[in-house]
Each structure stands twice: as C-alpha cells, then as structure tokens.
Symmetry: C2
Subunit: 147 residues, 2 copies
Amino acid sequence: MSEKHPELNLDNQLCFSLYAASRHITRLYQPMLKQHNLTYPQYIVLLILWQKDGMLIKDIGERAQLKSNTLTPLLKRLEQNGLVTRQRDSEDERQCYVYLTEQGKNLESLCACIPSQMLKQTEMPIEKLIELKQLLDQLVVKEVHGK
Amino acid sequence: MSEKHPELNLDNQLCFSLYAASRHITRLYQPMLKQHNLTYPQYIVLLILWQKDGMLIKDIGERAQLKSNTLTPLLKRLEQNGLVTRQRDSEDERQCYVYLTEQGKNLESLCACIPSQMLKQTEMPIEKLIELKQLLDQLVVKEVHGK
DNA sequence: AACATTTAAATCGTGCACGATTAAATCACT
DNA sequence: AGTGATTTAATCGTGCACGATTTAAATGTT
C-alpha cells in the first residue's frame, strides 16, 4: 500500500464519494422509472417541463445544466415515446419550444409517488438530507458566478 | 407553473443536486486530467491502483463500484496508453490482474498536486467539505448492507 | 468421471455527457 | 443594404454506465 501520496488516497476524495453517491441514487430510481419507460435524465427533463410547459431547449438546458448535444437526442426519444412535441419558434427560427403532450402531462400524477418512495429507501433522516442538499448546491453555485 | 405536485419541484430534489454537483466536479477535474491524457473514471481507477498495485479487476470493480462491462474497455484504454498491463492469473484463468507500468507508477507524483488544486477551486471551507463527504458516504453505505 | 452450478471477464446494445464543429437565423454596425 | 459577430440547435466522435448475455474456467455434487 503506497503512502507516498496520502492526498491521493481514494478514501480521502470527496470527488469519489460524490461520483459514487450520484450513480447509487440513480440506480435506486431505475426500478420506478422503468415502469414508465423513462431514464433518469429524461425524468429530470420532465420534472422541468412539469414545472413550466413550453420551454425553449436553451432554457431547459440552463435548468438541467445540459447542452443541446445531450438534450437534442434525449428530447427526440421523449418525442418518439409520445411524451413531448418540439416546435420551432416562428418569430426566431433558431429557437425550439418543447411542449408536453397529454400523455406527458398525465405522467406527472403517476410519478408523484416517486420522491416519497425514494425518501423511504435512503433511510436517512430528512434533516440530514436537507443539509446534504444545501451543501451540494453551495458547491455548484460558486462556479456559476465564476462563469 | 404547475403546483399540483410540489414534491416534484426540481428545486426540492436532492437527486438533482447530487447529479448536477457530480457532473460539475468532474468538469472541474477535466483541465488537470487532460494534461495527463486521462478521463475522470480512468483517474479513479489509477487512484485505486496507486494504493495497491496488482489488483484483480473484480476487486477494482468493488472499490470503484463498477462492473467489468465498464472496466474492461476502460482498462484496455489505460493499457493502450501504456499506464497498466493486464495479466491472467495462472492459478485461476478466470481472474485477471492489473499492474501499473513504470509510466503508470510515475504518474502518481505528477497527479499529487491535483487534490489541493481542486480544494482551492471549490472555495468551500474544509470542514464543510468533510461534512459533505460524510453525508454522501452515509447515503451509499445503507444500500451496501441491504444488498 | 459426469454434469450442474457458480464465478470472472468479456461482449453487446442503449443512452447519456461533453468537447468540438457545423448550419442557419438573427443581430449589430457601418 | 451589406457583412461580420453572435446565438441556437443539431451533428459528430469518444468514453463512460449499466442491464443483459456469453464464454470460459473453476467448483460442487453425485
């Protein structure tokens, strides 16, 4: 066991805990999302559209922190599955609006139980989860300003 | 703005904060890793091997929480780049050991500055980062037991 | 010894992520 | 009006992640 560089010990790396925890939580979502034929990033995009229908891809991207190279194919899949439609802005043909279909809107109620089921599975007290979320958001906020 | 299902508000979703923070931190690593022609998951695997050289793929996978379907191609790329070699166990031909090459070993010292540079970039006090890491690890530990 | 079971790695297919580039529309400025 | 810069989405290529399957080797059981 090398101890030349203890700062490189995996157990000291916040980055790895973050990476592992994120994938772990995504895996926990899979069984529930699979019932609705959704992937986790698709679910994120739907969360955004359920809050505000008819958004521009650009604005969805800002909210989800994803660019068109990820969103365009993802939205095409959602469209193929009948959950959204895409429509160019007639005022500015560069832009593209995304609208929920009826099926996409109806899915919201069906997914409403997911957050509470997830909370149950994590088995961590709600105060700790809130604390964790705040710390995570602080970690990201810095760079948004710096940009 | 739909408020039928406030539990689905993106801003209330720990999962999204986790997902966004993880990708954010990975992006922060990119410039430093690119200098050594490494991706972030490759760096994770090297962190593991720097701690203990000559591990089985199975054990690397347990440590990194990755299976062979992810590790095999990743290790082939590390091998192509001259950082590791792979060798079947002659006692048990199913198993495969991964060894650092000289170049792979030498890279450790070159990467030793990365953690401190990352700490600088996050601009979050070290106590908060430690707290964050502990919470993340608690989130994951539960499922390992349940499994 | 024969055969079912288990294990480890590799393979396959799908869907992200993301850097880089492209194409088209709009804007800004002369 | 003309043209260079900017904006938006799409496209392209690479490398993960991961469920599912396959292959080969080892193990267990009769």
